[in-house]
């Protein structure tokens, strides 16, 4: 059985959907973070697979950018989460709505 590009794309789609659903339904900030990482990596899989399908290095190059940005985002995001947790523990994402109109 040959594993074609379609399989990889399907895997990426499934992972992305899981990430999206998790982001929308969970309220724990840490879980939401993990879901975002899941979505990013799903996108990374599509980059790599299409890159290999087209025999183009550009796909892998894009992945590095995504990784760097994701790392930076995690640094800022986790710092925020830690800072909020220190002030009010057991907080979930829906409690943080003081900027609501």
């Amino acid at each position: 059985m040959i594993i074609t590009t379609t399989w990889y794309l399907l895997l990426a789609a499934v992972l992305f959907s899981i990430g999206t659903t998790g982001l929308l339904v969970r309220r724990n900030p840490l879980i939401m973070f993990m879901c975002i990482e899941l979505m990013l990596n799903a996108v990374n899989i599509t980059f790599v697979s299409i890159g290999s399908h087209l025999n183009d290095l550009g796909g892998q190059l894009a992945v590095f950018f995504v990784l760097v940005v994701a790392a930076a985002e995690v640094v800022v995001g986790l710092a925020l989460v830690v800072a909020i947790m220190r002030r009010r523990s057991r907080t979930n994402a829906d409690d943080l709505k003081i900027l609501g109109g």
Binding site: L24, R27, M32, L96, I98, L99, G100, G101
Partner: protein
């Protein structure tokens, strides 16, 4: 030497700034001398520019000096620049010359006033604004000066503002002038719209090369005339000038007789290339308004009892002559009369001020009498002023008035008739004033039995009931010296323009660069001119004769002339006040309500709509991160569907 023109307004500005910085830290005469020195410096620089201009050829006498860009806004560009030409320099000469004399006079007149410094600060600011008005090379700069002199006029009329009547008079002047300013502004908008420039010389160039519709120029001229009617106190906006006499007398002399009120005439003459392009009925209207005002105001002056009110109505009347001349296209005659009028009317006002000063503030003609021997210099100079304004040859007033009347005859004999009746009335009321003041029995000793109660008049601010104690005295030299100088000028002022031959018409040749040969030419034979002059003389003689037999010899009952209706100015002022206080006020309130409900309502309504919509929409911003994520997700899915639907697979 012409390029020193910026010095002319710089001196009064410097004086104003110095005085305002010094405030009350200088003592009384010093500030007055500072202001006078500033004016004298301005006069000297005008003289230098004048001599420099005389040395130039006739065609090089019109130059523009630009200091800097004032408003550079796209196509709209206004510079601070001075237009030095014979017209503006002539105006500057008598503004600074008469101005210096009046400053000097004020040192004596304002002696002992608590606000001595403030007075001179305003006077210098006035001189600066007036010079900017005259020298400005574009309409906007002229307008700046126009508003500046208006503001100074307001400040100086209500100089003694602790008396509510004075403050009201100031407000009245300011608000009445606003009507005229509206006309000026509309004219400016029209000029910029049609010519694309506000600079006089550029406008005249465009006027020469492009065809501008006659209706446009007519409308511009009429709107400028509305401005002139306001500032030069013509019917129906003259109302403010008699009230303006509430100010100190030097102010009446400088601002409300010699200089500021002539600026409307100046403006019309300055734009004479537009005037000649306008249709004939508009200039006819100008001439008729001038003639009508001259007669109307002269008839009122006959029955006034306040020495300054007589002169105020006389000023309105003389300004009417100038406007009449402008309407006839006789620009030189208008300027000529403006100059001689500046001399003799300033002289008369300063003389009146000297009398008031000597009588401890008494302004009622009926309480004077026999002051001739007690104030010899004032009386002598005042009599010269009387002869000049009445039009007795060889005094200056005769020449200028005669020239205007000749032009009036040439345009329309009816205009001339109105003019000559005015000349008769002028001779009469001035004779009355001189006799009541300087001749006859002294009446100031018998305290107000007959004065103040007849005709319910307006001598409201007379110094009162202790008239029995006054000791009339001659004024100090600072006051008499300007009187003598002005009297001299009133005698010889006519020399600048004598009608005998082409070479004696010096003013006409001198003004040629500014009038661009737009002047009307007289089509009268010299014999007609002689007859007209003799008729004028006859009218003057009759006027003086009636005056003498009524007031000196008392052969004619004076009640024949002093009708209450004339004393009340034909009830015009009170009617206007009544209309404006009653129905007019209500009409304007309705307009204000419309403004508040409809115009402001539209503006406020827009705000309310935005506010209410925002109140509903802001609920979408609920602060929940997951909702936003859902929004982003839906958006992404939407975009995806849109792209996919467009792609053919």
């Amino acid at each position: 030497m012409i390029d020193l023109v910026w010095l002319i307004p710089a001196f009064p500005l410097l004086g104003f700034l110095t005085l305002i910085c010094l405030g009350r830290s200088v003592r009384e005469p010093i500030s007055g001398w500072l202001a006078t020195t500033a004016m004298a410096g301005s006069f000297l620089s005008t003289l230098i520019v004048f001599i420099g201009m005389l040395l130039e050829e006739n065609e090089n006498r019109q130059t523009v000096f630009t200091l800097f860009d004032w408003i550079p806004a796209g196509d709209f560009k206004v510079e601070i620049g001075f237009l030095a030409d014979p017209l503006s320099i002539t105006m500057c000469l008598f503004i600074t010359g008469v101005g210096t004399l009046i400053h000097l006079y004020s040192i004596g007149y304002m002696h002992g006033d608590l606000d001595f410094n403030r007075f001179f600060t305003y006077l210098n600011l006035f001189a600066f604004s007036m010079l900017m008005l005259v020298l400005g090379d574009n309409l906007l700069l002229t307008f700046l000066g126009w508003e500046g002199v208006g503001a100074c006029s307001y400040l100086l009329i209500s100089f003694w503002f602790s008396d509510p009547a004075n403050a009201t008079a100031g407000k009245k002047a300011f608000i009445t002038n606003r009507v005229g300013d509206w006309g000026f502004m509309v004219a400016m908008f029209l000029i910029f719209f049609n010519f694309g420039s506000l600079q006089y010389l550029e406008i005249f160039d465009i006027l020469g090369s492009n065809q501008i519709a006659e209706t446009t120029t007519t409308f511009i001229v009429l709107m400028l005339f509305v401005g002139a009617v306001g500032k030069s106190a013509q019917f129906p906006l003259y109302l403010w000038l008699p009230d303006a006499m509430a100010g100190p007398t030097p102010v009446s002399a400088l601002i409300h007789a010699a200089t500021m009120v002539t600026s409307g005439v100046y403006l019309l003459i300055r734009v004479n290339p537009i005037m000649v392009e306008a249709s004939a009925w508009s200039t006819g209207l100008i001439a008729w308004v001038g003639a009508g005002t001259a007669l109307f105001a002269a008839s009122i002056a006959v029955a006034q009892t306040d020495i300054k009110k007589v002169l105020a109505y006389s000023t309105v009347s003389q300004l009417g002559y100038m406007i009449l001349a402008v309407g006839c296209g006789a620009y030189t005659a208008a300027i000529f009369h403006m100059i001689t009028h500046a001399f003799f009317k300033a002289l008369l006002f300063l003389g009146a001020g000297s009398v008031i000063h000597g009588m401890d503030g008494e302004q009622d003609l009926r309480r004077y009498g026999g002051l001739r021997s007690l104030m010899p210099i004032t009386a002598g100079t005042f009599i010269i002023g009387w002869l000049a304004i009445a039009g007795v040859p060889p005094f200056s007033g005769f020449w200028s008035k005669d020239e205007i009347l000749a032009f009036a005859w040439d345009k329309n004999p009816l205009l001339w008739l109105v003019g000559i009746i005015t000349a008769l009335l002028t001779a009469f009321y001035m004779t009355r004033q001189v006799i009541l003041t300087f001749f006859g029995k002294p009446r100031y000793l018998d305290a107000g039995d007959d004065a103040g109660d007849d005709a319910g008049d307006d001598a409201g601010d007379d110094a009162g009931d202790d008239a029995g104690d006054v000791q009339p005295h001659e004024s100090p030299w600072t006051m008499t010296l300007p009187l003598i100088a002005l009297a001299f000028l009133s005698v010889v002022g006519g020399l600048i323009q004598l009608p005998f031959s082409s070479s004696t018409k010096r003013l006409e040749h001198w003004l040629e660069p500014a009038t661009f040969h737009n002047e009307t030419h007289l089509h009268l034979s010299s014999s007609t001119l002689w007859v007209l002059a003799l008729l004028t003389l006859a009218a003057v003689a009759i006027g003086i004769g009636i005056g003498i037999s009524t007031y000196l010899k008392e052969k004619i009952d004076r009640q024949i002339f002093e009708k209450p209706i004339l004393n009340n100015a034909w009830h015009f002022d009170s009617t206007v006040s009544k209309v404006m206080g009653g129905p007019g006020f209500k009409a304007f309130e309705a307009v204000a309500k419309f403004d508040k409900r409809v115009i402001d309502g539209a503006v406020d309504g827009t705000g309310q709509i935005v506010k209410k919509t925002a109140f509903i929409l802001r609920r979408s911003q609920n602060g929940l991160v997951r909702t936003y994520a859902l929004g982003v997700g839906i958006g992404a899915v939407g975009l995806l569907i849109w792209f996919l639907s467009r792609t053919t697979i």
